[in-house]
């Protein structure tokens, strides 16, 4: 039941926010903040109670193991259940959702002044949909939430976004985002149905259940096609380079809270989908596809980094760096060694913090300067109180400075992938150089160089200071002491690695030997 409540709480909170608007703009904000706090606390409570670093992957010979499970028949006609389950991976990502949800509410405290209640309704419904994605292990239910969370995101961008110079661009951006993700989602639906009907043909039963469908025996070519359906849907959301077109626009036009959710959580649903569904359901096909996926990852790293260097809009720059970072994630996922997969988890968490931090900072800059165009900035160091200092922290994290969680994630990914794909790793490592280039360019253009004007802007207030401090703290915490995170997701990642069928030799000992 707790799992169901995890999904329901944001939805109910959203409705309350909507109705609370009649009492003024403040109640919706507090309700939204409270809702996400409750969500986070429940997740943390589950974490303290539960046992997530279960036995090593090797001993788990039976079906997938979950720490918590909840199921109820839903559409018996097709064997569809409301089937929710929690393991270490989903737990970490839900906690992340709760935390970033709070930040999203906090960072729109002053930014959103129109239709506050409806804004928070949309914000919370996105988060509810995301939690649903992380918990569903019935494929129909998963798809249900996967598609559902697009609608409030669309509204968020279309109604509260920043218009570009040509007037209506935020609606364009929102529509582009929606069509990209929805159309690719339909491909996934076709794949899901294909899998279900193959299963039906084999056994005479309809089932959308994860564990059942995993047993389906597929011919090689069928598995490849079905896997591609899943991959395309996840690749659009991640985003992988040829299908990334929506991301910079969506980020540039979205309100700060929208960008935080988009970069922090929505992109992670794609990586989660690959780890949870694409790889375990089609291990052989994924294995065969791995070189292509890794190539795409490498292309993403360089493409994102190079385009980031050429951006004038601060948020577009950060958006392109996201593409580069997700390239590393893609390589890690398809390398499939336990070490690389652990690295993927750390990288996802770290990127969520650093990208959220940078987006919030650019939101704060926008509140002060009314522009995100870096040509109109410059020389701001010393005129913004502690804001540039925090920027430096997040930029350092983003370029993968040792001591930050990002460094750890990238390092683990490259280290873990090396035994499998040394060539890709060697090339991808050069991405670090470019990362340093775009990060320093960002600092240089915004804070140094000739000043564009005089005067001192407002320093961070307590709310902003608290947000930044907590993010920096978390980045450093997981950079210096990542073991709790690794322990929590260890079992889940071991499971993925076992299903994916890569026998990684000595590297496993490094991590799972500890507890």
């Amino acid at each position: 039941m707790t799992l169901l409540w995890l999904i329901l709480i944001p939805f109910i909170g959203g409705l309350l926010c909507w109705q609370a608007e009649r009492f003024g703009p403040m109640p919706p904000r507090w309700i939204a903040l409270g809702t996400m706090l409750i969500e986070l606390l429940i997740t943390l409570g589950l974490w303290f109670q539960g046992e997530y670093h279960l036995a090593n992957a090797g001993t788990a010979s039976e079906a997938v193991r979950w720490s918590m499970e909840w199921r109820m028949p839903w559409i018996p006609r097709f064997g569809i259940d409301v089937h929710l389950a929690l393991d270490g991976l989903s737990l970490v990502l839900i906690a992340l959702t709760g935390f970033l949800g709070m930040l999203a509410v906090l960072c729109s405290w002053n930014e959103i002044v129109k239709r506050v209640g409806f804004f928070h309704l949309n914000l919370l419904w996105i988060l509810g949909g995301v939690v649903g994605v992380f918990l569903s292990i019935d494929l129909f239910l998963f798809f249900f939430f996967w598609e559902m969370m697009l609608v409030p995101m669309y509204f968020l961008i279309a109604l509260w976004g920043h218009s570009g110079s040509e007037g209506r661009t935020r609606i364009r951006a929102a529509t582009k985002f929606f069509i990209y993700t929805q159309a690719s989602g339909l491909l996934m639906l076709v794949s899901i149905l294909g899998l279900v009907f193959v299963h039906h043909a084999n056994t005479g039963e309809y089932s959308f259940d994860y564990a059942t469908l995993m047993q389906t025996s597929l011919s090689e070519s069928t598995a490849m096609w079905l896997m591609l359906g899943f991959f395309v849907a996840f690749a659009v959301k991640l985003p992988v380079v040829p299908v990334h077109g929506w991301l910079p626009d969506a980020h540039a036009q979205a309100p700060t809270a929208g960008s935080v959710d988009l970069a922090g959580i929505l992109l992670k649903t794609a990586a989660y989908g690959m780890l949870r569904f694409a790889l375990p359901l089609f291990p052989e096909a994924s294995q065969a596809f791995a070189p292509v996926a890794m190539t795409l990852g490498v292309i993403g790293i360089f493409y994102g980094a190079i385009l980031a260097c050429g951006q004038q809009d601060m948020k577009r720059l950060i958006a392109y760096t996201s593409i580069a970072h997700m390239g590393f994630v893609l390589i890690g996922i398809y390398a499939g060694t336990e070490l690389a997969l652990q690295g993927v988890v750390v990288m996802m968490v770290a990127h969520a913090f650093s990208a959220a931090g940078l987006f919030i900072l650019s939101g704060q800059l926008y509140e002060r300067l009314s522009t995100r165009d870096m040509r109109q900035m410059g020389g701001l160091w010393g005129r913004l109180g502690s804001l540039p200092g925090f920027s430096l922290c997040f930029v350092a994290a983003s370029l993968g400075m040792p001591g930050t969680a990002n460094f750890l994630g990238e390092f683990l990914i490259l280290f873990g992938s090396f035994p499998v794909a040394p060539g890709f790793v060697a090339v991808a490592s050069f991405g670090f150089v470019l990362a340093a280039v775009y990060s320093l360019l960002l600092m240089q253009r915004v804070y140094f160089g000739p000043a564009q004007g005089e005067g001192v802007f407002a320093d961070l207030d307590r709310r902003e200071y608290l947000m930044m401090l907590s993010l920096v703290g978390l980045v450093l915490l997981f950079g210096l002491y990542p073991q709790p995170l690794l322990d929590t997701t260890g079992a889940a990642m071991g499971e993925v690695q076992r299903l994916f069928g890569v026998v990684s030799q000595s590297t496993t000992l490094l991590l799972t030997g500890a507890p």
């Binding site: 559409i75 598609e147 159309a183």
Partner: protein, 482 residues
């Protein structure tokens, strides 16, 4: 051949609707009273719906010309519900109309009776009779506000083109009769056998043209947007829901029953038409700035999706058709209902241009919620009934391995999103301070307002918990006369 008492009882819903029509006619002759007539109509339709429940326990049952089986009862229920909804809308719409108001209900009832006959017909004679009985009153309904040029134009356009389509239909029937000497579906089926011959094929093709016109399948779709745009709201609603449901039911029955329609050549043609209908409908909708026209094109696309069920014609297809028709009808009732309510009470041509709806959310949040839900449902987004319908269509295509059709459904949906989203976001944009038409203040407590609210709730509930709908449709499809 005489009718037995059981058979008469089984025809009770139809008889009740006809009796109500006669009652309305006499009442108008005696005294005009708008609300009274509307109430009388609603009561009659409700009685017919109740009678349907009784008939359910007698079915399946055949009379020489009509079959009272699961499919007939199912579509009769849909048609009656749609007619009821149109009655509530018409009452809100016509309340201040200065011409004669009461006759609209008479026409509505006649068309409903036609729909009931059409969906139950197992004989070419009743098919023709039913189809004409649906269409004739619709000419009147569409041109009801005859002082509006567009309304008159819609009525006449529909009349002329519909007559041409009827000619095709009749010619097709004649060819089939010439080939086989039978007019009943069962006789046709057995006489045609496996090899249907050139004339049989030509006959079947001409009948598909005739019926395809009514369903606005693509090469015969030209009339749809004009007629939807011009016709008064309640009439367009009826045309988009009840009439299409009835025609589709009979087409399904024909295709299921008769080998002439299963011939492979015809099958391929149907598949091509389905793909064309989805794509053309959606593409043409892209540039519309009039909500009623847009809904017209979108209904073309929806019948393209539905045609997939006909093309595949086995496995899940009756079930899929049933589910899709339910979701389509509810969604369309909701969308047209809102448009009609915004244009109510009548005062010049309907408020259907998109800019009329700009910022509607900030004036009429609940009415906007209804329209948003219906738009999402048409786009097939989860949490709405439309998603279940689309799920069925895609499932059907995947199961049969018709990848081209599946691809077209996906491409169509992706294109469709674009204009549904455009409508949706318009509703929420800041108000532009232009001249506006608006629903009356008390819209929510009127019958029409209640109707759209109920429809919206149903769309959501069936989207979240579709099991009852699926079970119902399965029961119905299990009870078909071969």
């Amino acid at each position: 051949m005489t009718l037995t008492a059981t058979q008469l009882l089984a025809l009770m819903p139809l008889i009740l609707v006809c009796a109500t029509a006669i009652g309305v006619m006499l009442a108008i002759a005696w005294r005009r009273h708008h609300t009274g007539i509307a109430t009388f109509t609603a009561v009659g339709l409700n009685l017919a719906l109740l009678a349907l429940i009784g008939v359910w326990f007698m079915a399946p049952l055949t009379t020489p010309l009509l079959a009272i089986d699961g499919l007939a009862l199912f579509s009769a229920a849909l048609i009656l519900i749609a007619a009821l909804a149109c009655t509530t809308l018409a009452h809100a719409y016509l309340v201040h109309y200065d011409g004669p108001r009461e006759e609209f209900y008479l026409l509505l009832l006649c068309a409903t009776a036609g729909g009931l006959v059409l969906s139950a017909s197992t004989h070419l004679a009743t098919l023709f009779f039913g189809l004409e009985l649906v269409s004739m009153p619709l000419y009147g309904m569409l041109a009801y506000i005859y002082r509006e040029r567009r309304s008159l134009e819609a009525g006449i356009k529909y009349l002329v083109l519909s007559a041409a389509a009827t000619a095709f239909l009749l010619f097709g029937m004649a060819l089939l009769f010439a080939e086989t000497g039978h007019l009943d579906f069962a006789g046709l089926t057995s006489a045609l056998g496996d090899d249907i011959g050139v004339w049989g094929l030509a006959g079947a093709a001409m009948m598909i043209i005739g019926l395809g016109f009514k369903l606005s399948v693509v090469p015969f779709h030209m009339w749809t947007p004009d007629v939807y745009e011009g016709g008064p709201g309640p009439a367009a609603t009826f045309l988009a829901t009840a009439s299409k449901v009835a025609v589709f039911t009979v087409l399904l029955r024909l295709v299921m029953a008769s080998p002439a329609f299963q011939a492979s050549a015809l099958h391929e043609v149907l598949a091509v038409l389905a793909v064309l209908t989805m794509l053309v409908g959606n593409l043409l909708a892209l540039t519309q700035s009039n909500l009623k026209r847009l809904l017209g094109y979108s209904s073309i696309a929806h019948f393209g999706y539905l045609l997939t069920a006909l093309v595949i014609g086995d496995g899940l297809s009756v079930e899929a058709t049933g589910v899709y028709l339910v979701t389509y009808m509810l969604t369309t009732l909701g969308a047209f209902g809102v448009v009609t309510l915004i244009s109510s009470p009548y005062g010049g041509s309907d408020a259907a241009a998109l800019h009329h709806y700009r910022g509607l959310f900030w004036r009429r949040p609940y009415l906007t919620a209804v329209l948003t839900i219906t738009m999402l449902s048409m786009a097939g987004i989860p949490f709405t009934a439309g998603f279940i319908g689309k799920f069925y269509i895609v499932a059907l295509g995947v199961e049969a391995g018709r990848w081209w059709l599946v691809g077209a459904v996906i491409a169509g949906s992706a294109i469709g999103l674009f204009y549904y989203l455009r409508v949706m976001v318009t509703l929420y944009l800041a108000e532009a301070g232009m001249q506006r038409r608006d629903a009356p203040e008390d819209w929510a407590v009127q019958a029409g307002g209640l109707m759209v609210l109920v429809v919206a709730v149903l769309v959501i509930v069936l989207g979240i918990y579709p099991a009852p709908m699926i079970d119902g449709v399965r029961l119905v499809s299990a009870m078909m006369v071969g």
